[in-house]
């Protein structure tokens, strides 16, 4: 359990209520009662159901496509294909290279070919299946290494990005050298709320879309282009969102549902099945990584060389940014004076990959931390001591040449994590459910070997490489129905489960000294909030609320000062009262609001960043967050079964604005890291997805998840609102590496690939 220190900066009266306290989620009671409306719960009189026809082949030419058999089915209202589009035929987060519907060719298993609207979901599914498509099946390009030089499978070519980093003397050599090849499998976000939404045609010829997503405005812009509508005629409202983890940053059913709604002039609901969900969103990039670490004999890093190939699948999505993170953070959170890194993100006929929690940093962390253990072994050093000796700190340079100006408590994370209590040894009479294999009653306590592993990771917070990253907040303060001051906070920030709605209320309460705060539904009627990704919303949207509240407060102070014939500078807002600095006179908030509501809209932009130059050098990142993980595992080497016994972590969080929410983010992020370590992988066979179900794609269950012991390093980040850093991703960056390091210690096996499967342990000679 964490022992959060109460942040001293919040003891000033104006900020007293709420911030830094474990305020409970406003949406939690409804969620426990089944009364919270998720995107798949939407219903409207007269609505139709949409369904998608998807390619069964990773690569094929469409010889012919006949919608007639589908249209002949009673209850079918529309079939729409590439031939029926009237706007842009392609879309994409950064590069518009993905067809709305397959245009003559299909490039991955599951690519949308057509969509159907019908009275009943079963009719829609059968109608989609009835569309006659004649495919000429082609050999898919599935090898990411081969894709670099293979004939292009798309007019834009196969190379999304080759990023070169040359830092210091790229040819520098160390006295001790270790080298290794590593591989990371394709992980799925597996958010529980399936892709879904309701599109409603509006009277002005536009469309309203209620949808679960991460970034309303970028969705809107892509949708509007494909509908050939001006942006203001495409209005999006966030529907209840059942998790995201990066998988909702790209579009899924949005354009299809809107097209069907406009064609049929009826509301259209689309809800993916779990199987379709596996085809309907991008995944974490599978990666192959080669590393060579150079060090002095006394354990100082001299140089890191790496070459990595990330499989982006058929379409670009955010591959160029993912490979940028992977390269920039390639050595892990250590100071290394020389580096030579080549990263490739390539196009193949595998499923498209893009954002997932950790975003590029996960893959390199797994490899780099394995290298650090290998180096420690070659040096005869303790792996934790080696990490401490090379830990990055404030004012050090990253391999991109950027000097870290924010906080970088890497050594503090390492020592705090190392010092957390270890679990009890495995008892001889331990219940079978707590042994490797669990309910299968497979392992015997006497055969089990315990291992302990350590890993440290980091990543950027907010968007990098020169992107103008901002969020917009509108705050309105007025007298509510009970003559109480009421603040309404309006942003386009996607609450996907992370708890932003709670933090938004806390900030407004703290800044304005009011009790009643309403967080309005997120929609596109206010400026962009940017994406709920990159661990950025507490910082970015939190910062925007702080600024808007500040502007509202200035007006309050002016009004009060006018009443008292004083200057606004003579007044402060304390505990819901506008008081003179000497405390002699006061005006209540309610009185100040009788002159009418006060509203302010503000944008928070983080400090500008720069693109990387031809040597991968530049101040590309704003703020960084770090975490150390220690994992304890029990392994049955004969059966290859692993039970994770405990994960301990110390995380750099700046300041906790809501300790309970931080605790939950860290536990949940570690669960996903454990998943990648020992069970989660989308299995491909020549580009075909073999396990699109929760039967065959395994997620950590309540029996798999060990206790998480956590502690926090709280050093306020300058330039970040309230000193808080985003907390969502670091738990996922290095927990995977820690678990695998522990399995290596228990088994002595090299284990160069995740997820580690039973046969990797039991069948390795």
């Amino acid at each position: 359990m964490p022992a959060p220190s109460m942040p001293s900066t919040f003891t000033r009266k104006r900020r007293a209520p709420g911030l830094g306290e474990s305020v409970l989620r406003p949406d939690a009671p409804a969620k426990t009662k089944g009364q919270f409306a998720f995107s798949s719960d939407l219903w409207m009189e007269g609505m139709l159901w949409g369904a998608t026809l998807r390619s069964p082949h990773p690569s094929a030419r469409i010889r012919s496509l006949d919608p007639a058999p589908a249209l002949a089915i009673g209850g079918v209202h529309a079939v729409i294909t590439n031939d029926d589009l009237w706007g842009s035929r392609t879309y994409g987060l950064e590069h518009h290279d993905q067809p709305v519907f397959a245009d003559q060719v299909v490039r991955y298993h599951g690519e949308p070919v057509a969509a159907v609207a019908a009275d009943h979901p079963e009719i829609a599914r059968r109608a989609a299946a009835a569309i006659a498509v004649d495919y000429e099946v082609l050999d898919p390009l599935v090898d990411s290494e081969a894709a670099i030089t293979a004939p292009p499978i798309h007019p834009d070519g196969n190379l999304f990005r080759h990023l070169k980093i040359r830092f210091g003397d790229p040819g520098a050599r160390g006295e001790v050298v270790v080298e290794g090849d590593y591989e990371v499998g394709m992980q799925d976000q597996a958010f529980l709320g399936p892709e879904s939404g309701l599109a409603v045609p509006s009277e002005d010829g536009g469309v309203e879309l209620y949808v679960a997503t991460q970034w309303l405005h970028v969705d809107r812009d892509q949708i509007a282009a494909c509908l050939n509508l001006p942006r203001e005629k495409v209005r999006l409202t966030l529907a209840g969102t059942g998790g995201a983890f990066g998988g909702r940053e790209d579009l899924s059913m949005q354009i299809h549902a809107c097209l069907l709604a406009l064609v049929t002039r009826r509301p259209v609901k689309m809800v993916y099945s779990r199987e379709e969900s596996f085809f309907g969103h991008v995944h974490r990039h599978p990666a192959r990584l080669w590393y060579r670490h150079h060090a002095t004999r006394d354990g100082r890093l001299v140089s890191v060389e790496s070459r990595m190939v990330f499989d982006g699948g058929a379409y670009a999505s955010s591959s160029t940014a993912v490979i940028s993170n992977a390269c920039a953070f390639a050595p892990g959170p250590y100071f290394v004076p020389n580096a030579k890194v080549d990263g490739y993100a390539v196009r193949t006929n595998n499923p498209p990959c893009g954002a997932m929690r950790g975003f590029g940093a996960v893959q390199t962390s797994f490899a780099a931390e394995a290298q650090m253990d290998k180096l420690a072994a070659a040096l005869g050093m303790d792996p934790v001591e080696l990490r401490l000796a090379n830990a990055l700190k404030q004012h050090d340079q990253l391999i991109t040449g950027q000097v870290i100006i924010g906080t970088a408590p890497v050594a503090e994370c390492i020592t705090a994590c190392r010092d957390l209590p270890l679990p009890e040894p495995l008892a001889a009479d331990a219940p079978a459910l707590s042994l490797p294999g669990g309910a299968g009653l497979t392992a015997l306590a006497g055969d089990v070997r315990r291992g302990v592993g350590f890993a440290v990771g980091f990543k950027n917070l907010g968007f990098s490489e020169g992107f103008d990253d901002y969020s917009t907040a509108r705050v309105r303060l007025e007298l509510g129905p009970a003559d109480e001051p009421l603040a309404t906070v309006h942003l386009a920030t996607a609450e996907v489960g992370q708890g932003f709605v709670t933090v938004a209320m806390q900030i407004a309460r703290a800044e304005l000294g009011v009790r009643e705060v309403v967080v309005q539904a997120a929609d596109t009627q206010v400026g962009s909030a940017g994406s709920t990704s990159a661990s950025r919303q507490t910082m970015m949207s939190g910062g925007a609320i702080q600024m808007a509240c500040s502007a509202v407060r200035e007006v309050l102070l002016e009004r009060a000062a006018l009443d008292l014939h004083l200057a606004p500078a003579d007044m402060v807002l304390e505990e819901g009262e506008l008081v003179t600095r000497d405390g002699g006179a006061s005006v209540s908030l309610a009185d100040a609001l009788r002159a009418g509501p006060i509203e302010a809209t503000r944008e928070f932009h983080h400090a500008p960043t720069e693109p990387l130059d031809e040597n991968g050098q530049g101040n590309a990142h704003w703020s960084l967050a770090f975490a150390a993980h220690r994992a304890v595992v029990d392994v049955d080497p004969e059966l290859g079964l692993v039970k994770v016994v405990q994960v301990a972590t110390a995380q750099d969080i700046g300041k906790a604005l809501n300790p309970l929410a931080v605790t939950g983010q860290i536990e949940g992020g570690i669960a996903q890291g454990i998943g990648l370590a020992v069970m989660e992988e989308i299995v491909l066979d020549q580009g075909k997805v073999r396990n699109p179900s929760f039967t065959d794609y395994l997620l950590p269950t309540a029996l798999d998840m060990p206790p998480v012991v956590q502690t926090w390093i709280e050093q306020p980040e300058r330039g970040a609102p309230y000193g808080a850093k985003g907390v969502g991703e670091p738990p996922t960056v290095s927990s995977t590496g820690a678990v695998v390091a522990a399995i290596r210690q228990a088994t002595g096996l090299p284990l160069r690939r995740v997820p580690v499967r039973p046969d990797d342990i039991a069948l390795t000679p």
Binding site: T32, K33, R126, E275, L433, T695
Partner: protein
């Protein structure tokens, strides 16, 4: 399946009555293939049971059928006619929470919340059957309730809070 079999005409033929949370709910014009989950959500206005996988793997659609915990996605609705169906909506009256629901709120066990209704139905079922269940029993009982957000840590905390509160109340 030929297209003839999939016409609207063959779909809108079934009529039956379900007993849901103690109330008789007639269902008309239903297709025989509809799951109990679908009928609860789309025909009876009870979307509290969730549709995370519709493969019987995730537990988000858990309901009690004649007192037995089932995945409602894997039960044909028409087969449930004549049975007593209890859903998350039947656990507590409007504006009130059960002790398990209250503990989930207070202990931070809710993030996105998609798995939560099914998880709460499963925990009530466990505690009804085994009031003395310990954490390992809980872990086993909800190992069929997948949660992707929380890592289950706060769920365990909520379970312990309920157990403590019930122990206090019974002394």
């Amino acid at each position: 399946m030929s297209s003839d079999e999939a016409t609207g005409a063959d779909q809108a033929t079934e009529r039956y009555t379900l007993s849901v949370n103690g109330t008789d709910r007639p269902v008309a014009d239903a297709w025989i293939g509809e799951s109990l989950l679908y009928v609860l959500r789309e025909r009876l206005g009870l979307p509290g049971s969730k549709n995370a996988c519709e493969q019987g793997e995730c537990g988000s659609c858990s309901v009690l059928l004649d007192g037995v915990l089932v995945a409602s996605c894997c039960v044909l609705a028409a087969d449930a006619a004549g049975s007593d169906v209890r859903t998350v909506e039947g656990l507590s009256p409007e504006g009130e929470l059960t002790d398990v629901q209250r503990a989930f709120v207070d202990q931070g066990a809710v993030q996105c919340g998609f798995c939560i209704p099914g998880m709460i139905v499963a925990i009530h079922d466990l505690l009804d059957r085994r009031p003395d269940a310990d954490e390992l029993a809980l872990r086993e009982a909800i190992s069929g309730n997948l949660c992707r957000c929380t890592g289950y840590g706060r769920v365990f905390a909520a379970f312990h809070a309920v157990k403590q509160e019930r122990a206090r109340a019974s002394t």
